[in-house]
């Protein structure tokens, strides 16, 4: 695996080194990615896993459902699943984006004013070490069964990795570029605008890579504790599990997983567009 990793890395480096507009290398890279040695191992792993699952499911009908049972449930109740997926999707979208923006803005404030880090970071750490599973029911009591507690829980889990990573990124500027800026008597704003902001992006994307899957965890957990609402894939999991309805339980889990895969793939696409200048070896991977 690591051998193919480094080879794609080298190709990536070559593409970025010759510019984004030049296509021959890009298509060479595509060819490289499409080579069967690249995707076949993963496909084989998935096929084996699915086969093992199916064998286990057939041998233990009350433990896990078979894949075709799950698939049938997905087809039969497609509308219900879609509606619930939208609810969870909305929670993730609203919660994650507010957590991401809040984390990044607080990171900027802390990076520019060290006093703020000393003043606020201890509180942030205290909140973050408190298990989110314990906070969620309390928030439901405070804000009711509506969307608000779900937004808050999702935002909370996203906030910390964003803050920590962005802060590290904003701090990790090229000292020598900073020296050049200082001899030009650059203002703090100019240093932020020209140096820190873009320079922090590899770290920001590393933070997003951690934060986005967590956002789904946050939304699902919030739905578990407020399952009375009966909306969202997380609620669906708890309700179906309580009724020992295995196909629905696992169909919902599969959809949560699918949401995560979609989010991570989108992130990788955006990352490529934004961070084309950062070599793959940098922190942001």
């Amino acid at each position: 695996m690591s051998a193919t990793d480094t080879s794609t890395l080298a190709v990536q480096a070559a593409t970025s080194a010759t510019g984004r507009r030049i296509s021959p290398l890009a298509s060479a890279k595509l060819k490289q990615n499409l080579r069967w040695t690249n995707w076949a191992p993963a496909v084989i792993t998935f096929v084996i896993a699915a086969a093992l699952w199916q064998i286990t499911a057939i041998a233990n009908p009350y433990v896990i459902p078979t894949i075709d049972q799950v698939w049938m449930s997905l087809i039969k109740d497609a509308d219900t699943y879609w509606a619930n997926m939208l609810v969870t999707g909305l929670e993730v979208a609203v919660g994650a984006s507010s957590g991401i923006i809040a984390g990044f803005i607080l990171a900027i404030i802390m990076a520019e004013f060290q006093v703020m880090e000393r003043a606020v970071m201890p509180l942030v750490v205290v909140v973050m070490v408190t298990p989110i599973v314990a906070i969620a029911p309390a928030l439901v009591v405070a804000f009711g069964f509506g969307m608000t507690p779900k937004f808050i829980v999702t935002a909370l889990v996203v906030f910390f990795p964003m803050l920590v990573n962005s802060l590290a990124g904003l701090r990790d500027v090229d000292d020598r570029a900073l020296d050049v800026m200082k001899t030009l008597h650059a203002s703090r704003w100019e240093i932020f605008r020209d140096l820190r902001f873009t320079g922090s992006m590899p770290y920001v994307f590393a933070g997003l890579r951690i934060a986005l899957p967590l956002a789904i965890v946050g939304a699902a957990v919030a739905e578990f504790v407020a399952a009375g609402q009966q909306a969202g894939l997380g609620s669906l999991v708890t309700i179906a599990a309580a009724q020992a309805n295995l196909p629905v339980t696992w169909a919902s889990i599969a959809l949560l997983c699918l949401m995560g895969v979609i989010l991570i793939s989108l992130l990788a696409l955006v990352r490529k567009r934004v961070l084309w200048w950062s070599d793959g070896a940098a922190v942001g991977r």
Partner: protein
């Protein structure tokens, strides 16, 4: 902008600097005095850790001296940086990888724009072309060789027409062949844009090739041991290396460096 001629250039007077916590301070610069006239090229050479970079950073306004005075064109360093009178070429090119070569060179114009008034700003394209980078304007730093990147960094320091150029071992990361080409290129450009230059280097031939004077520093604490004149005629070409005068000077500088290092271990 026009200042009285006698003040033009860099004046360093009795500058001392120590680092470290109270009680365990080490003296890094001990009463260093040096003047660089307008249009004069001065190299600073000396053993590692003798305080060359510290001296350069003091002139750049990146480090405050404990005592002594630094003036640039008769102004304090602070006032000089406010007026963007100092161009810095750091040891690594320190270009912004997400900006094109052209936009990297434009950076000094967009930063602290108040100081752009009444000065002879250069056309970034033109300056890059004269550095042989005309074909690389729209490339990104990651697409350039180390030598090309360093030339971009030098163009970035020249573009806003500072009175003083400070370079800290700008060619140290390049291989020997490349270094020679870069030296000649720099010399060529400087010949028609005579700034006061302070050039830190570890290379004796480089110092001789480029400079009007060579400042030899000693360590523990950092001080100026000797200042050696380089009377070789300008403009200089690669043929200078083969002359007797060059070899004599090289011997002299190396001898002085040996004395300085010996002093340290004694």
């Amino acid at each position: 902008m026009e200042t009285a001629q006698p003040h033009a250039g860099v004046h360093i007077e009795n500058v001392s600097k120590s680092f470290g916590p109270e009680g365990a301070r080490t003296l890094v610069l001990n009463h260093v005095s040096l003047s660089i006239k307008m249009g004069e090229f001065v190299s600073v050479i000396g053993p590692s850790g003798c305080g060359k970079s510290t001296l350069l950073k003091t002139v750049a306004g990146l480090i405050d001296a404990d005592s002594g005075v630094v003036k640039v064109d008769g102004m304090t360093v602070k006032a000089a940086t406010k007026n963007k009178m100092i161009g810095l070429v750091p040891q690594s090119p320190a270009l912004l990888p997400w900006r094109t070569v052209l936009d990297n060179v434009r950076l000094p114009m967009t930063v602290n724009p108040k100081a752009n008034a009444n000065r002879n700003l250069r056309d970034p394209r033109e300056i890059l072309e004269s550095f042989g980078l005309g074909a690389a304007l729209d490339k990104y730093p990651g697409q350039l060789s180390g030598g090309m990147q360093q030339r971009v960094a030098i163009a970035r320091a020249f573009v806003f027409d500072p009175s003083v150029l400070l370079m800290d071992e700008p060619f140290s990361a390049l291989d020997e062949m490349n270094r020679d080409a870069q030296r000649l290129g720099l010399l060529d450009f400087w010949q028609s844009n005579r700034k006061a230059v302070m050039f830190v280097t570890h290379s004796v031939p480089e110092a001789i090739m480029l400079s009007d004077r060579i400042v030899v520093m000693g360590a523990h604490p950092g001080h100026i041991a000797e200042i050696i004149d380089v009377p070789l005629p300008r403009p200089r070409t690669i043929d200078v290396y083969a002359t007797d005068e060059f070899r004599d000077l090289e011997g002299h500088v190396r001898e002085t460096l040996r004395e300085v290092m010996g002093q340290k271990s004694a």
